[in-house]
């Protein structure tokens, strides 16, 4: 936008692409007939945390696998750490660290041996390798378990060892594919703390998650991936603004009443297990009164009625469920 006023095109170029840790244009990938990524565009500034949010099967892991050079894209262009992904994958690899969804530790050897293995593969001198190993094991609270085979570690410990291994080469860009999936609440909060520390070191973090809370908690920018497309992108605040209002939540205890209400109220989000209906609403007095009047008129009585102001959950469901909310493109956000 500022390009017309900028006197020198060179400065513009430096300001535009020089600070991007990852930039992606039109990335595509399909497996047979199934299109997993249908042309996604991303631009992630260096030193920021970016969260790719989406339901299972949205293509999050595929995006990480492509950007971390594990698999090749079918189309599109991507630059990671200023290097072209397809032309110079080895240079990309030298700048990144990856912690995949499934534990990437060698279970047959000890935690310490795993770390020393990484040090050797990053071609660190022996002493340096030992120093980094001891330091990271200490930082991730693994010193005590260092001499035990990694296969004996708990889920949280494995994940910590995994991240510690990722940090051995001092990567500038770190990919974390669902870093807290399967962790208990305490381990999840530990992991969040770890990720925040990474960012304070100036590292760029690209994480995927299916937890909105996590994206809200950690990320500077969030992209919602649905069906292989970026449904929306922006800060948590920007995304929340996408949804004009919140919703009214109606809880029922009688399944029959719930069913009646569900069929009568068409534009609702159903939770059949909990017998809860969510009716889109901006939370204004007028809308609330009309809803209540309508409920009275149709003789539906909810056991509990609560008004919710919008949060990322609403954005997420609106964008990925398509329940009565128009499909937003990221241009609307920016």
């Amino acid at each position: 936008m500022a390009s017309s006023v900028m006197p020198t095109p060179r400065r513009m170029a430096a300001g535009d692409s020089g600070s991007a840790a990852i930039s992606v244009v039109g990335l595509r990938k399909s497996y047979g007939d199934k299109t997993v990524l249908d042309g996604i565009d991303l631009r992630i500034p260096a030193g920021s945390v970016f969260a790719l949010l989406g339901p299972n099967g949205a293509g999050k892991t595929t995006a990480v696998k492509i950007l971390s050079t594990l698999i090749t894209a079918d189309g599109g262009q991507a630059q990671v750490a200023g290097r072209d992904l397809s032309a110079d994958p080895q240079a990309v690899r030298a700048a990144i660290g990856v912690t995949g969804q499934f534990s990437a530790v060698d279970g047959l050897i000890t935690g310490e041996e795993n770390m020393l293995l990484m040090a050797d593969l990053h071609h660190l001198p022996k002493r340096e390798g030992r120093r980094v190993t001891a330091e990271l094991l200490e930082r991730f609270d693994l010193t005590e378990a260092a001499k035990k085979p990694a296969s004996t570690y708990s889920g949280g410990m494995k994940r910590r060892l995994d991240i510690a291994m990722t940090l051995v080469g001092d990567p500038r860009i770190i990919f974390l594919d669902e870093p807290t999936t399967g962790l208990d609440p305490r381990s999840r909060h530990n992991m969040w703390q770890i990720i925040r520390e990474l960012v304070s070191d100036g590292v760029t973090v690209f994480l995927t998650t299916q937890y909105l809370e996590e994206a809200d908690e950690l990320a500077d920018r969030i992209a919602v991936l649905n069906d292989g497309k970026i449904a929306a992108e922006g800060t948590a605040e920007e995304l929340k603004r996408l949804i004009p209002g919140g919703h009214v939540r109606l809880r029922f205890s009688d399944p029959a009443t719930y069913e009646n209400a569900a069929t009568a109220l068409r534009e609702t989000q159903r939770d059949d297990e909990a017998l809860i209906l969510q009716v889109p609403s901006d939370g204004s007095q007028r809308e609330l009164r009309s809803l209540l009047d309508w409920l009275d008129a149709t003789g539906i009585e909810a056991d509990e009625l609560t008004v919710h102001t919008p949060d990322l959950d609403d954005v997420f469901f609106a964008l990925t469920g398509g329940a009565g909310v128009p499909h937003q493109t990221k241009e609307d956000v920016r």
């Binding site: 594990l70 690899r93 499934f102 530790v105 279970g107 050897i109």
Partner: protein
């Protein structure tokens, strides 16, 4: 920048050597921590050796025109048993490669700026070392029950060791390819079975002349027969003839084929 070849070439090779030796250390660590699989694989050739010498030995010895004391059949049998030892050990390699490929750490290796084939080279070198060790152990059992190759010169011993190492290398690359193309350890162990079966269909246990006429070509034109005949010649002084060249050609061809096959399998996008 003007002479990239001169500057990048040596570093590429030293990178390959360095990363491969790191991977080798990892594999040796696995073997040292979990030796049971290696030992299990050793059991088969030792049992076969004892079975054929002490149980079937009388008949077999008479069959090859030897005396009643079985020593001649023992001498005939040992080179084949050593080859079978290598075949069995490489099945272990196929299984461990297949198992390794299901581990998450392989994905991590693929995203590191390391020599790409170092994972495979580590497996291959580790497996060849295991083959050598197994051959020495099985050979020691053979010597303990009376096998002697005292007529062989130092040069013949070196050539025999070289042949065994070369066969190990060739079969290991094939086994690595089999491991990479198998979805899991069980499939790898089945797919690699020919490495153990082929020695039975060679001149390891009985001379090819003693087999049914229709079967003789199968026994004749496969890698184990020339390799075994060459080893026999080197250790015991029997006629080698063209078998030496045939064995070397088989080994080089199988190693090259296994390498190219494994490399292309490994370079495919993982699932």
């Amino acid at each position: 920048m003007s002479t990239p070849l001169a500057t990048t070439r040596p570093t590429r090779i030293s990178l390959a050597v360095r990363d491969s030796s790191t991977m080798l250390r990892r594999n040796l660590l696995h073997v040292r921590r979990y030796p049971s699989m290696t030992l299990n694989l050793l059991l088969t050739p030792v049992i076969l050796l004892l079975l054929f010498v002490y149980i079937f030995g009388g008949v077999m010895s008479a069959g090859i025109g030897g005396g009643a004391d079985r020593s001649e059949y023992l001498a005939y049998l040992v080179p084949g048993i050593l080859m079978l030892t290598i075949g069995g050990t490489t099945i272990g390699s196929a299984v461990s490669v297949a198992m390794d490929m299901t581990e998450g750490i392989i994905a991590r290796f693929r995203t590191l700026a390391i020599h790409r084939q170092s994972v495979l080279i580590g497996h291959v070198v580790g497996s060849v070392l295991q083959c050598v060790m197994s051959v020495v152990l099985v050979g020691a059992v053979a010597v303990a029950i009376g096998f002697r190759a005292t007529d062989a010169t130092a040069l013949e011993w070196i050539a025999a060791a070289g042949l065994l190492a070369l066969i190990s290398l060739a079969l290991t690359w094939i086994a690595v390819g089999m491991g990479l193309s198998s979805p899991n350890a069980e499939a790898a162990s089945n797919n690699a079975l020919p490495l153990m079966i082929l020695p039975f269909l060679s001149s390891a246990f009985v001379p090819v002349d003693a087999m049914p006429r229709w079967f003789q070509p199968i026994a004749e034109y496969q890698p184990f027969t020339p390799a075994i005949e060459t080893l026999r010649g080197l250790l015991l002084g029997t006629e080698i003839g063209h078998n030496g060249w045939l064995a070397a050609a088989w080994c080089l061809a199988l190693a090259a084929l296994g390498y190219v096959w494994s490399k292309s399998l490994f370079n495919r996008d993982p699932k």
